[in-house]
């Protein structure tokens, strides 16, 4: 079964600094990769996803992520963060056939809390 590792549970940064949130997944087989963001007391919403094609994926709010198959990584980056980016970020992988055929099931990492300080 697939697994996702988010290497940092908390990342504090100053406003306007760059940030990278790291994500590694367990399998080298073809998978789909996602980053979701959760603002305080809200549900998750999609930031970006990688399905195929260009390894650099651009998402909403100025975020981007790079798929690296050889390193089984999908790190999330933003060149300049804002206070409003303070949230928890979840990396997820989708693997058809997991859980006895639950196609489309997302396997989540444990999350990284990004805290942007003025």
């Amino acid at each position: 079964a697939q697994s996702v590792t988010q290497l940092d549970s908390q990342v504090p940064v100053f406003e306007e600094a760059p940030v990278e949130l790291r994500c590694n997944y367990s399998s080298s087989v073809s998978v789909y990769l996602f980053w979701y963001v959760q603002y305080p007391n809200q549900g998750l919403q999609l930031l970006l996803k990688y399905l195929s094609g260009s390894t650099l994926v651009k998402g909403i709010n100025g975020f981007e992520a790079e798929f690296n198959k050889s390193q089984t990584s999908f790190h999330l980056r933003k060149p300049s963060v804002h206070i409003s980016d303070t949230a928890e970020y979840f990396c997820a992988v989708s693997d058809p056939g997991d859980y006895g055929g639950s196609q489309g099931n997302l396997i989540f990492g444990k999350g990284t809390k990004l805290s942007v300080k003025p």
Binding site: G43, S94, S102, L106, I107, F108
Partner: protein, 114 residues
């Protein structure tokens, strides 16, 4: 506004009581999911449904049951609540059962079992 509605938003429940968390979507999505979110553990899948009339077990199904009588509704039932079921519960849906399909999430239900 189209999306997923969960109810209640929060609940304090006595141990041993039965509770149903409601989830309704108006996007005509085929697949629906229930996750629980616990500090330091991320989101874990409880149950899923690929289409109306079918359900399946996820990673942590024990103590929970679901039904999918129609496309829009996917209630989650705790037959006899225990304190370890204290968590934030998220319902989600996706257009299709394909692995590339984006999941849309509700706002969550915060459940405390005492």
């Amino acid at each position: 506004i189209a999306g997923i509605t969960q109810a209640p938003t929060s609940q304090i429940l006595a141990a041993g009581r039965r509770m149903t968390l409601r989830c309704t979507q108006d996007m005509r999505h085929n697949a629906m999911y229930w996750y629980r979110q616990d500090l330091g553990l991320g989101l874990r899948l409880i149950h899923y449904s690929n289409t109306a009339g079918t359900t399946g077990k996820g990673e942590v199904p024990d103590g929970y049951s679901v039904s999918r009588a129609n496309t829009d509704d996917f209630p989650l039932t705790l037959a006899s609540a225990v304190p370890s079921q204290t968590s934030v519960y998220f319902c989600a849906s996706s257009l299709s059962t394909g692995a590339a399909s984006e999941a849309f999430f509700g706002q969550g239900t915060r459940l405390t079992v005492v």
